[in-house]
């Protein structure tokens, strides 16, 4: 689906989060010049159209005790990477799974995230994932996270130079 200028303005306003007030869509609408019902209708359309993949609470897992978080990467032959990625993505404990472009300094092309509270349990799941996705013969690296320096929502609109700034401000 195509995004209109109004949709962009609405998503830009939403980047900071839905206001925690009794009628948040009315407030959002007041900021972008839309009636409440129109805000809800547009958000529903954006969600049904797949532009908004998820609309809801964004939870910070580290604060809930999930501190053993591994990014696992594999170097998979191109002909096999898609099938392996789909198999990985189907595992309930895999939270993210992407194919990325290789780099001369970093030849890995398949990425997933596995989160947990205990490192040994995550390590077991990594082995299980490798086996179930048929990746045991592929070069692999496991990168547990250490410090989180920054974690916020993506700012597609409100970063400097964003087109949304041309619209009416808050």
């Amino acid at each position: 689906m195509e995004l209109s200028a109004t949709d962009r303005r609405l998503l830009a306003e939403l980047e900071r989060g839905l206001p925690l007030v009794p009628r948040p869509y009315a407030l959002l609408g007041a900021r972008v010049g839309l009636p409440e019902a129109e805000v809800m209708a547009r958000l529903r359309r954006l969600r049904d159209g797949g532009v908004v993949r998820r609309f809801g609470l964004v939870v910070r897992h580290r604060r809930l005790g999930y501190r053993a978080n591994a990014m696992v990467v594999w170097d998979v032959p191109e002909v096999r990477v898609r099938a392996a990625g789909l198999r990985l993505a189907a595992l309930p404990f895999v939270t993210l799974c992407y194919r990325r472009r290789r780099h001369p300094a970093w030849p890995y092309n398949l990425y997933c995230m596995i989160h947990g509270r205990v490192r040994a349990a995550v390590e077991e799941r990594i082995e299980e994932a490798s086996r179930l996705a048929g990746l045991r013969s592929c070069p692999r690296r496991v990168l547990f996270s250490r410090r989180c320096f920054k974690q916020t929502g993506a700012r597609y609109f409100s970063a400097p130079g964003a087109p949304a700034h041309a619209g009416p401000g808050p």
């Binding site: 925690l20 939870v59 996270s145 920054k150 993506a154």
Partner: protein, 152 residues
């Protein structure tokens, strides 16, 4: 971390998706959880203050709006803190983690245009003198679909 009561757990579990598109969404949530609207709002404010909930927000499909990439740097350990702070200071950087690898700094850059993305990546490399390895998305097999919490 403080233990969370069952109602809070349900709030965190059940509303990462399909947040109610109703004029009074917090009242709808309250009806499901057995709380009144004001109590739901209070609880969400508390969770936000405690850093457990970042926001009620929309996660957009990558590539539909703007431009983004994962990036990695191999930073000498004694410089890591300073380089990490420099990287985090860009509003375009939304994740920035130290990871256990020679490539020890991993971050995501998201910008309204490919040109702005390019400028941020070049700027980081210029200012630190450390190459930035760009690892853009080719295909998503599983996107941010929320975080299934297990409370055991």
């Amino acid at each position: 971390m403080a233990r969370l009561d069952p109602t809070t757990r349900r709030l965190l579990d059940e509303f990462q998706h399909d947040f109610p598109l109703d004029p009074r969404p917090f009242r709808v949530i309250g009806e499901r959880l057995g709380l009144d609207e004001a109590a739901v709002l209070d609880l969400l404010c508390e969770l936000q203050e405690a850093g457990i909930v970042d926001r009620v927000g929309a996660v957009l499909e990558p590539g539909r709006v703007g431009a983004s990439t994962l990036a990695a740097m191999k930073v000498p350990p004694e410089l890591l803190e300073g380089v990490a702070a420099l990287v985090s200071a860009y509003p375009e950087v939304n994740h920035n983690y130290e990871r256990e690898d020679a490539y020890n700094l991993w971050f995501v850059v998201t910008a309204p245009t490919p040109a702005r993305l390019r400028a941020v990546l070049d700027d980081i490399a210029d200012r630190t003198g450390i190459p930035v390895v760009e690892l853009p998305l080719v295909e998503a097999f599983r996107l941010d679909l929320g975080f299934p919490l297990s409370w055991s």
